[in-house]
Amino acid sequence: MFISSQSSAPSFRDFTLVMPAVAVGNVGQLAVDLIVSTLNMSRVGHIHTDCLIPMAGNDPYASSKEDGEELHTPAEVYAAAELKLAVLQIRAPILQSKTKRFRQLLVSWIKSSGFSRTVVLSSSHAYQRDDQQLQGTPLRYLVTPSLLKGSADALKEMGWREMERVPAFPGLTDGNTEPRLCIPGGGITKGLYTDSCKEDLPLAVLLVFCSEGDNIPDAFALANHLNDWLHLLDDNSKQPNKWKIPTSWSLLFGNGIPPALF
């Protein structure tokens, strides 16, 4: 459940919540890292739950050594009041046996906090795309009926592609099986989406097809895609690198090389 790290509980009424799904390539989480780091958001609380594997570390967004000594937990909420934006960052895997409960926890927290809309950043296995999906942009979106009411025009204007429904058993020409939503490698994304539809929550999913590897370009693509809609960064200069990479992204692929190797 949410525990504030300040003296009083913050208000999230009418805020937009951006959160990642722990999914293939960790793309959603990397994109959220970019958002928090660039907008210099401050932490306002923790989601303290037994559904995540515990981990702890110093401030991953610290720019200097002095303010780097602040303990951070697996699920934290950051806020930027002037943008009416709240961001939940999840840093640890969800325990397999507790995925359903974690989804319920999130849905009830979203409801009780009064967010005006929630955006889930996610990803899906690129190798499971069908022939149609192999062409064009790897970015997809999904919206719950509740959010569609308000955002249909904006989505149409941006020309985004909705996530396709796929037949349950491809190849079988059984007339009874209707196409259904499938997000392989997306973690709790599909569950969260269907739960939100049921609970009539305004929720959108933004996902990118990717594979495991160096997923930093995928994170940039997803963050830019989100920015096209929400306009989080006010920049008129079309410079490519407007996102600030946090210090925690160093050494993603291992230590320095021992000189004796050569």
Binding site: A23, H46, N58, A62, L71, P93, L95, E212, P259
Partner: protein
């Protein structure tokens, strides 16, 4: 996924496991799942006197809680602190998981997770954890233990062993630098740690992390001293690395600062051979 050579490989994701579509579980599956969960529950077994006290609603008065996670940390505490023989065993914790050695008939006699209380200063508690606590049991272990302690003016110190292979640094670590200490503390910790803070992008996992999370969220003063060592198993050099922590602990606890070599030898026995692959 097909490779260039035409073979088909299964793809693993570092982030998510294969998610099975949530089919409705039938009763039998649910029952099995529930039984398994019950078996994996963490149980605390206190001495009769402590149990009575807890049952009547009084939490354990505690000003200093020292937790040792790992063989070297536990042995260090045994040699330098518990050897002064002023300690009562007040309880133990048990957590069954896939790595627990199957002991037929009775429950583990040499318990891998024991709580001690100082005889003269009963607000000082020590806990040695040398067993494996699984990922899904970490939160529960921490909650259950801390539920028994009163939180006001509580100071928590955690000593933890880990491998230097997990330490990420831009400069190559020559063999000479291990073992070394790094610290991580909660916002409520007001003192100075005895060593450098853990640099990015390193993190702490396992029981020390679970304790830190709990203390951070509940605003308890806590510090973790993580010892990075290149030796698996008990080793006197690794144990000596924790010595600077004694200066902080020595304020409230009586210590043995220079233990005899016999005492050290008792703890640095050769590890049980699990396999003869590397003899």
């Amino acid at each position: 996924m097909a490779t260039f050579f035409g073979e088909v490989l299964s793809v693993y994701s570092r982030a998510v496991e294969e998610d099975d579509d949530e089919l409705d579980e039938n009763e039998e599956d649910e029952q099995i799942r529930r039984e398994l969960e019950e078996k994996r529950e963490v149980h605390l077994h206190w001495s009769p006197e402590v149990s009575e006290s807890l049952k009547s609603g009084n939490k354990l008065q505690c000003s200093n809680f020292v937790l040792a996670v790992g063989q070297n940390a536990s042995s260090f505490l045994s040699v330098h602190i518990l050897s002064t023989a002023n300690w009562d065993t007040i309880g133990r914790a048990s957590a069954w998981n896939e790595r627990s050695r199957a002991v037929t008939g009775q429950s583990c006699e040499e318990s891998a997770c024991v709580f001690y209380r100082h005889k003269d200063n009963p607000t000082v508690l020590i806990c040695q954890v040398s067993c494996y606590v699984a990922e899904d049991q970490l939160f529960q272990w921490t909650e259950k233990v801390f539920d028994c302690l009163q939180h006001r003016e509580l100071n928590v110190t955690v000593l933890s062993d880990t491998s230097v292979a997990d330490y990420k640094t831009a400069d190559y670590l020559g063999g000479s630098s291990a073992p070394f200490l790094r610290s991580l503390h909660t916002s409520a910790f007001g003192d100075q740690p005895v060593c450098q803070s853990l640099e990015q992008p390193n993190i702490v996992t396992g029981l020390p992390a679970a304790v830190l999370n709990h203390c951070q969220v509940h605003r308890i003063s806590a510090v973790v001293y993580q010892c990075y060592s290149d030796v698996i198993g008990p080793d006197s050099v690794t144990m000596e690395t924790y010595k600077p922590v004694l200066t902080k602990l020595g304020r409230s606890i009586q210590l043995d600062l220079s233990p005899s070599t016999d005492a050290l030898r008792k703890f640095v026995r050769t590890t049980d051979l699990q396999s003869n692959l590397y003899i």
